[in-house]
C-alpha cells in the first residue's frame, strides 16, 4: 500500500476515533437522555467514519465495498434505535406534563 493511501486512512480513521471519543465524553458527562442519545449517534458516526476510511484504496482503485455495505447496514440500525429512543423520550415528556 502506498504512503498516500496509508496517510489518508490514518487521517480519516483518526478523525473517526476522535468522534468516538467526543461522543463517549458527552455520553458520560451529560445527564439528559436526549444528549446521551445524540452522543451515541456521534459515536456511531465515528465508527462509520473509521470503516469508510479503511475501505479507501487510492484514487484510481475501486474502494473495498464490504465496509461500505456494513456502514449502510449500521446507519439503518442506528436510525431505528434513535427513532425508538426518541419515542420513549417523548412518551416520558408527555407523562411528565
Amino acid at each position: 500500500m502506498t504512503s498516500h493511501v496509508l496517510g489518508t486512512q490514518l487521517l480519516y480513521g483518526g478523525s473517526g476515533i476522535l468522534l468516538v471519543l467526543l461522543g463517549l465524553w458527552s455520553f458520560l458527562v451529560h445527564a439528559p437522555l436526549l444528549r446521551k442519545l445524540i452522543a451515541i449517534n456521534v459515536m456511531g458516526a465515528g465508527v462509520f467514519h473509521l470503516l469508510v476510511a479503511i475501505a479507501y484504496r487510492g484514487i484510481d482503485t475501486p474502494p473495498d465495498p464490504v465496509p461500505h455495505a456494513l456502514v449502510l447496514t449500521g446507519i439503518v440500525v442506528a436510525v431505528s434505535a434513535t427513532a425508538l429512543a426518541l419515542a420513549f423520550g417523548k412518551r416520558l415528556d408527555r407523562d411528565g406534563d
Binding site: 449502510l72 431505528s80 419515542a87
Partner: protein
C-alpha cells in the same frame, strides 16, 4: 469549581483510550492485511446479478445482514406503536408551503424510483430510495397532513411488513427448491434482487414516515376531520 470525575478522571481516561485506539488503528492499518475482502468481493461482483459492488454485498453476499437489518427497522416501528397513538400533528400549511409540498412530493417519489433502479449499477439502492420516500412522508407531515400520506393502520401494517416478508420468503423458497437459503440461482439473481429491493423500498419509506409520526396513526375518520 472543579468536579474531579467530570474534569479529571473522565478526560484523562478518554485521552488514554484515544491513545490506545489510535495506536491500535495505526498497527492494524500498517500490518499485513493486504486488500482485506476487497479483491475477493470485486472479483465476484459479475456473478452477483448487479454491477454495483455495494449492492452486491448488501443484497447478495451479505443479504442475511440486510434481512435482519430490515427486521430491526420494523422492530423500532412496532416499539413506537406500542407506546401509544401519534400526537395531533402540525397545523395545516398555508398555500405557499402547500404548493411547494405538492410539487416536491411527486419529485421525491420519482427520485426514489430512479434511486432504486440505478442501485443495480451505480451508487443508490433500496435504502437511499426508501429514505427519499420517508422524506416525502416527513414533508407531508410537516405540512399538516396528519398521517403523512400513509394509509390507515390496517393497510399500513402489511406495507411495513412487506420488505422483510418478501426477503424472508424468497430465502426460504430458494432453500426449498434446493439452492440453499438466499442462494439465488444464476440468471435469476438480478430479478430477485430487484423484487426484494422494490418491496424493501416501499417498506422502508413507509416505516420511516410512520416512525416520524411517533405513534400509531390516527384512524381514517379522524384524518378526514382534520383535513
Amino acid at each position: 469549581m472543579i468536579r474531579p470525575l467530570e474534569h479529571i478522571v473522565i478526560p484523562s481516561g478518554l485521552i488514554a483510550l484515544g491513545g490506545l485506539l489510535g495506536w491500535s488503528l495505526f498497527l492494524a492499518i500498517t500490518g499485513e492485511t493486504g486488500d482485506r475482502l476487497a479483491e475477493i468481493a470485486l472479483a465476484r461482483v459479475p456473478d452477483s446479478g448487479v454491477s454495483n459492488p455495494v449492492t452486491s454485498v448488501l443484497l447478495n453476499f451479505r443479504a442475511y445482514d440486510t434481512l435482519l437489518e430490515l427486521a430491526v427497522l420494523l422492530t423500532a416501528l412496532l416499539g413506537i406503536w406500542s407506546l401509544g397513538a401519534a400526537g395531533p400533528g402540525f397545523q395545516k400549511a398555508a398555500s405557499v408551503l402547500e404548493g411547494m409540498v405538492a410539487g416536491f412530493v411527486p419529485l421525491l417519489i420519482l427520485s426514489a424510483g430512479y434511486m432504486l433502479w440505478v442501485g443495480a449499477y451505480a451508487p443508490g439502492g433500496a435504502f437511499q430510495a426508501g429514505a427519499l420516500l420517508g422524506a416525502a412522508g416527513v414533508m407531508l407531515a410537516l405540512a399538516g397532513h396528519r398521517n403523512a400520506g400513509l394509509p390507515s393502520e390496517d393497510r399500513l401494517r402489511p406495507l411495513v411488513a412487506l420488505g422483510v416478508f418478501v426477503f424472508a420468503i424468497t430465502g426460504v423458497l430458494l432453500a426449498v427448491v434446493g439452492g440453499g437459503f438466499l442462494t439465488y440461482p444464476a440468471g435469476l439473481a438480478k430479478w430477485l434482487i430487484l423484487i426484494i429491493e422494490t418491496a424493501a423500498t416501499l417498506s422502508i419509506g413507509a416505516t420511516l414516515a410512520a416512525a416520524y409520526l411517533g405513534g400509531r396513526p390516527a384512524p381514517e375518520h379522524a384524518t378526514r376531520e382534520s383535513a
